[in-house]
Each structure stands twice: as C-alpha cells, then as structure tokens.
C-alpha cells in the first residue's frame, strides 16, 4: 500500500570501465607530442602575430634565439637581451654560438641551419638588426621570425 512510487530502477552511474583506456590514450598522446624544454626562458615573450606563416619541416635544423626584456628586471635591467640556450649573450658572441650549434648537425646539413628568432613585441629593431648582422657574418642566413597565427580578436 505504498503511496510513494518506488524510485525508477535506473542505474545512474557512469560506466567507468573504459576510463583507463581513455587515460592511457591521452597519456600516449602527450608522451608522443611532448618535448621536454631544456631551457627556461628568462626574457619576456609576447610573440607577434602574422598571417603568412611558413612551417619548418626539419626541426633538427632549427635553433632558437630569444630576444626580449628580461623577466628579472631588478637583476638584468630593462634593456632587451638575447638569450641562447640558458645564457644571455651579447651580439658579438653570436658567431661563436652559431658555430657551436652548427657542430651539432650532420656534416651534409651544416649549411642548412635555420635560426628561429623569438622576439617580444616590444623589442626594438636595433637589437634585432645587430643580431642579423652577426648572423650574416657567421653565414647563418636562413632566418625565421617566429610568429603566432593571426587571430582577429587579438588585434
């Protein structure tokens, strides 16, 4: 004589038996795509946006230079600095650095070294031109200005 209806006998649990599968799939995805960053970037990096991006195919040939205002302003000052690997270098040290990077490549690929410049929006052309002049002297003439894909809502 129950006046209250029994609760509908429907399971409300989400089946979790496939959860490990999903987790493993994600895990493998990240394991494959991940690249452990060996350097921590010590300069500001607000990368500009552009529309005409080109993709570099051979990642082993690419080497990065970071240019921007140091994050630790009280220690390094306000002026934009150049970071290669994990040290700050002066434009005059770039030739040496290029040669060191070149030595890491295979013999037949040494001339294909591409320098990717990751430059902060607010950095001035002056410092970048100094870097370019040194790169020209070191004969590392393939250059990429790293940019992000242009998105309309950001500008």
């Amino acid at each position: 004589m129950s006046k209250f209806k029994k609760k509908a006998n429907v399971k409300q649990d989400i089946p979790t038996s496939s959860m490990p599968d999903v987790v493993f799939m994600l895990l493998f995805f990240f394991m494959v795509t991940t690249q452990l960053r060996e350097t921590s970037i010590e300069v500001q990096q607000r990368i500009p946006e552009a529309t005409q991006l080109r993709k570099l195919q051979r990642k082993t040939l690419v080497t990065n230079l970071y240019i921007g205002k140091p994050i630790k302003v009280e220690q390094y000052g306000e002026e934009p600095k150049i970071q290669a690997q994990d040290v700050f270098i002066e434009p005059s040290g770039i030739g040496k650095w290029v040669n060191a990077e070149r030595d890491k490549l295979r013999e037949d690929e040494k001339d294909q070294l591409t320098v990717s410049l990751k430059v902060d929006n607010e950095a001035k052309r002056g410092i970048i031109v100094d870097v370019e002049t040194e790169l020209r002297k070191a004969n590392a003439r393939k250059l990429l200005y790293n940019t992000r894909e242009f998105s309309k809502n950001n500008r």
Partner: protein
C-alpha cells in the same frame, strides 16, 4: 593502474610544450664585407618604398599612411605593373619592395609590415599556381606547398609560380634615431 596512468598523464600535461616552429621566413643577404660596395643602378620606378620611423609611423612611397589595409593591393599592383604605369615597376623581376625601418621601430610593427609584403607576393604566386578556392584559401594552400619542397610535385608547382617573379623584399639597414 589508473592512478599511475593519471600520475604520468599529469606529469606530461605539465611539462609539455608543443613547440611552435612557424613564422615568417626570410633569407638574409650575404655578409657585409663579402659584397664590394658596387653602385647597382635601380630605376626609381622599380622601387616600392616602405618606411617606418621610431614612432611606428609608416610612409609608403613617401606618403604617410595610417590605414594599412590597402597596402597589399598596392604592392600587388606595383609588382604586376609590367610597364603599364610609367611611375610603377617595369617588370615583376625588376620590382623591389624596399623596406626600411629605424632602430627604434618595434618588432610588432616590423612583423606586421613584413607580413603584408610577403602576403602580396604569396597572393601573386597562389594565383599563378592555379590553385582553387578563395584568395585566402589559395594563399594558405600555396604556403603549405612552399613549406614542403621535398616533394617533387610541390617543388614543380612552387617553381612554376615563382618563375619570373622573385620575392624581392629588401630589408635595409635601419636609421639611427630611436632605440639603442
């Protein structure tokens, strides 16, 4: 089991940096001392001047320009003039886009303008490569082709599109008003 997987997953989630190797690619000129300073005579009409000062103000062919949306079409018209307009270029292979900045110009403005200059050329190439779709799609397709030249079919299309129209964007040594 799932705990370990979660732990690893979290670890990779945190440490991962999906590297971004995309951007505007250029070829620097040979070292300064390798070229003897010869007087290359280029006629005034074959140079399209883009100048930016230390306050990021833009001069196009000597005229100040605030709104840059029409610049791409101007460059395309200039390159493809083929001698029609006596004040514009003789032929596409002689046309040079001269891009001069100041040491105080910001990188952001520099990239914005270089992007427009390259866009004009890529648009021209995409048209000649005989790709289908809207201008934007064609341009994107062409850049994908240009990024993968190891493929002989791509290389053929790329060379055909560039035949006679080299991308001559000259980035001049900057003036020294602003900056360090």
């Amino acid at each position: 089991m799932a705990d370990i997987a979660f732990l690893l997953l979290t670890f990779f989630l945190v440490t991962t940096t999906i590297s971004n190797d995309r951007g505007l690619s250029i070829q620097l000129p040979p070292p300064p001392e390798a070229q003897p300073p010869e007087d290359v005579k280029v006629q005034e009409r074959n140079i399209f001047k883009v100048q930016v000062n230390s306050a990021d103000r833009v001069l196009i062919e000597g005229e100040p320009m605030e709104d840059l949306s029409g610049l791409k079409e101007m460059i395309k018209k200039f390159v493809l003039n083929n001698g029609a307009d006596p004040n514009s270029s003789d032929s596409p292979d002689k046309a040079i886009v001269s891009f001069k900045t100041d040491r105080g110009t910001s990188h952001k403005k520099f990239i914005e303008l270089l992007d427009i200059c390259q866009a004009a050329y890529y648009d021209i190439y995409a048209d000649r490569a005989g790709l289908s779709g809207s201008m934007e799609e064609k341009n994107k397709k062409f850049r994908e082709i240009a990024s993968d030249l190891a493929n002989p079919a791509n290389k053929e299309v790329y060379e055909r599109a560039r035949e006679g129209i080299p991308m001559q964007i000259s980035i001049a040594e900057p003036t020294k008003v602003g900056g360090n």
